[in-house]
Amino acid sequence: MSGPARPAPNAQLEDVSKLFGSFAALRQVSVALEPGKCYVLIGENGAGKSTLLRILAGLLRPSMGQIQVFGEAEPHDARDRIGYMSHAPMLYDELTGVENLSYFARLYPDRECLEPAEALRQVGLDPKLERPLGQYSQGMRQRTSLARVLLAQPDLLLLDEPFSNMDVESAGQMVELLARFRHSSRTIVITTHQRELAAPIADFVLALKAGRVARFEAGNPTL
């Protein structure tokens, strides 16, 4: 598939389908995600975007079809290189931002992690905040969650609606942060309903419709 000049894709789905009972959330999706690119995943509510990300993250297994992430048939085997941010914060309500991040940083002993305070500063939060996460505002929680995935500097970054509760200015800053985070070896996948926010870093648009790929092309999601 890959021509002579093209690098091997970081992740690849072939004919992947996912059934929940007899409901098909994804139908024969085939895509290759190349290093150095940023993919924006769009589609209506219930189109299957979150399901696709969870499959790439190794949290769901495809019902049918093949998957390959960093050369592994199981994304789980390459999980130290995958970062996944979901709708839920995936953080402990009882701990402060810094405590949460240092906990997760220590779970990646073999990777060069950011300093927790540094990661929080990057997403625009004050690392000295003594409040437990349960008392953060919605947007602050979202940013902490983004800081968590950036910690281990993953090579495949999966972001499920990262900007949904952020104010426009912060969202702009986050996009800049992601632009700085870009690297020739890294792949970024973002689902969002605010296409114009993701436009500055989008290389490809992947549109899902009722579980099928409706559009997959280079370019900008606002077009």
Partner: protein, 236 residues
């Protein structure tokens, strides 16, 4: 061809069962202290032994599933079918033990049930495999087989405890007949013969059900795969 073989085997099983029944009821000598009730022995103990054997099948199937579930899905599905069939047939035999035991106990001890180690652990064994079957029914979805396999391994850990229970502790339940202390074992050769025939007959009978159950489960698996394919192709 397969049907013919199954029919032939079924005929052998029926003959064995009849022969075993004849041996147990008419040929085996009367036991001196318990008389007629003692004949339950020819059902109680063989059923227990066969039940252990099928839980072992279930254990192997579970291990097989966990071993192959990534590398060879086809084998894994087969192993899973074995695990399920083994557990189901094992539970049936375990149920027979739990019924024949109290029937015997009512005459021998005057009570149906007591909480000694053998009886309690046997009941627990039954409960574990019953919960295994429930897990398979309730936990729909792809992770069900994995979870069931794990539980199947834990369930098998209880089998040796049941087996050893009347060796480790003084129980109201009789001491082991085989492999107990020096003077254990059946002395009367006619009794031993009747016992042996019954073990063989029940075992053959169990294997027959096991095979049938395995085939049904395989059919289920194939149907499920077919349905999934249809769901994908239906509406847009």
């Amino acid at each position: 061809m397969k049907k013919l073989a199954t029919g032939f085997y079924a005929a052998i099983v029926v003959a064995l069962m009849v022969w075993g029944f004849y041996q147990a009821i008419y040929v085996a000598p009367d036991e001196s202290t318990m008389h007629e009730v003692q004949r339950i022995f020819y059902y109680h103990v063989p059923n227990a032994i066969v039940c252990f054997a099928f839980f072992a099948v279930s254990l192997l199937g579970s291990i097989g599933y966990l071993a192959f579930r990534r590398s060879n899905p086809e084998w894994a599905q087969r192993a899973d079918a074995w695990a399920l069939a083994g557990a189901e047939v094992g539970v049936v035999f375990c149920t027979v033990v739990l019924i024949t035991g109290p029937l015997w106990g009512r005459r021998a001890w005057g009570i149906w049930w007591t909480w000694d180690a053998r009886l309690t652990t046997t009941l627990v064994l039954w409960l574990i495999y019953a919960s295994y079957l429930l897990l398979r029914r309730f936990a729909a979805g792809p992770q069900m087989q994995t979870l069931a396999a794990v539980l199947g391994i834990f369930g098998a850990l209880d089998v040796p405890i049941v087996y050893m229970s009347n060796r480790w502790w003084r129980t109201q339940h009789p001491a082991p007949v085989f492999g107990g202390d020096a003077d254990s074992g059946i002395k009367d050769p006619a009794m031993l013969a009747a016992f042996g025939w019954n073990v063989l007959a029940w075992f053959a009978w169990g294997v027959l059900i096991l095979l049938l159950r395995y085939q049904v489960e395989r059919k289920h698996q194939k149907n499920a795969a077919l349905e999934a394919r249809e769901a994908l192709e239906s509406h847009v």
